[in-house]
Amino acid sequence: MMRQPPDSARRLRWLAWASMLLVAGGTLVAGRAGAEDPAQQTRVVDQDVQDLKKQLIDLNRDLFKLEEEILYPASTQVAVFLSVNVGTFFALDSVTIKLDDKEVANYLYTEREVQALHRGGVQKLYLGNLKAGKHELVAFFTGKGPHELDYRRGATLSFEKAVGAKYVELRISDREASLQPEFVVRQWD
């Protein structure tokens, strides 16, 4: 009975084929460029270059996905995301993440990044590997709170890592009743 090659090996083979096709495409573009009148040549070459660019972007995306699959297999993968919901009571400056008492991420936010989060962006703050079992995540948020005062808060989540990938979201939102920011850590099912 023949053994099926692993998924990553098949993908690599596919990527190698795609690369060869790109090279062959480039050769074809060069060949065609010499055959027609200059104006048409320019249009054809331009179109072909655009096609090649698109293929290159697709190839790059596939490589990125492949790299992620190899470095962070689903069985051990843990990802932490950050989102901001309204966030008028807190101006975010930095976030530090500790996993099982070990600092794994520390991120300083620029004004532009904070604006992107306010517009609904979700940031992948950390991607790593964890063994199955019980773990603890602590996130520290620093910034300016109400009345422009320096603000530092922590949020903790104890979770059980099973065989599948684990996704955790840190969310900064407004607590209207107390006019204070709220920091929530939750798991995605």
Binding site: D93, L108, Y109, T110, E111, R112, E113
Partner: protein, 170 residues
């Protein structure tokens, strides 16, 4: 005897393999021209966090300095005149203080009347990223984030910097 020779050869091969990354690193120094400027984010003395990659599309003059470095004063004064220019397409100037103390960096910048942001590299992490061995160190980064010129241990000569800026269309 033959076994000893084999072991010696294996040991030499292992040492060579271990030393290779160091050798490779020195031959591809971060600071060499036409290499991408490593991205970083640092807090400035006015409290803002600034990220180098957010200046893509602008020409950036990056200068590493410290308050204890004598020739940094002249280098910063020169860059200040560039930053204070009125030309619409003048480069962005960013100073990175390796003092490790935001207060000291801020008061030094104020004493020189710097008109460009002073970033504080408190743990010298960015200094290590850029292999800063001598101060001042000035780098010219083009619109695509590629290093196009470096000047170490002395202020960048005005003429050379102006010419380099002209060459990259600034």
């Amino acid at each position: 005897m033959a076994l000893m020779q084999t072991l010696a050869l294996v040991a030499a091969a292992l040492l060579g393999a271990l030393a290779f990354p160091l050798a490779a690193r020195s031959s591809t120094a971060v600071l060499s021209d036409n290499t991408p400027a490593p991205d970083f984010v640092l807090k400035s003395t006015d409290g803002r966090n600034l990220r180098l990659s957010e200046y893509r599309g602008d020409v950036v003059v990056l200068s590493f300095w410290a308050s204890w470095c004598g020739s940094c004063r002249a280098a910063l004064a020169e860059l200040n005149s560039i930053a204070a220019g009125t030309s619409a397409d003048r480069p962005v100037v960013l100073g990175v203080s390796l003092d490790g103390d935001a207060g000291r960096a801020s008061s030094f910048a104020q004493s020189l009347g710097l008109k460009f942001p002073t970033l504080v590299d408190a743990h010298q992490a960015v200094g290590r990223l850029y292999d800063v061995e001598t101060l001042p160190l000035t780098l010219l980064v083009d619109r695509d984030g590629v290093v196009r010129g470096t000047w170490a241990a002395a202020p960048a000569p005005q003429a050379e910097l102006t010419q380099a800026l002209q060459e990259i269309g600034q």
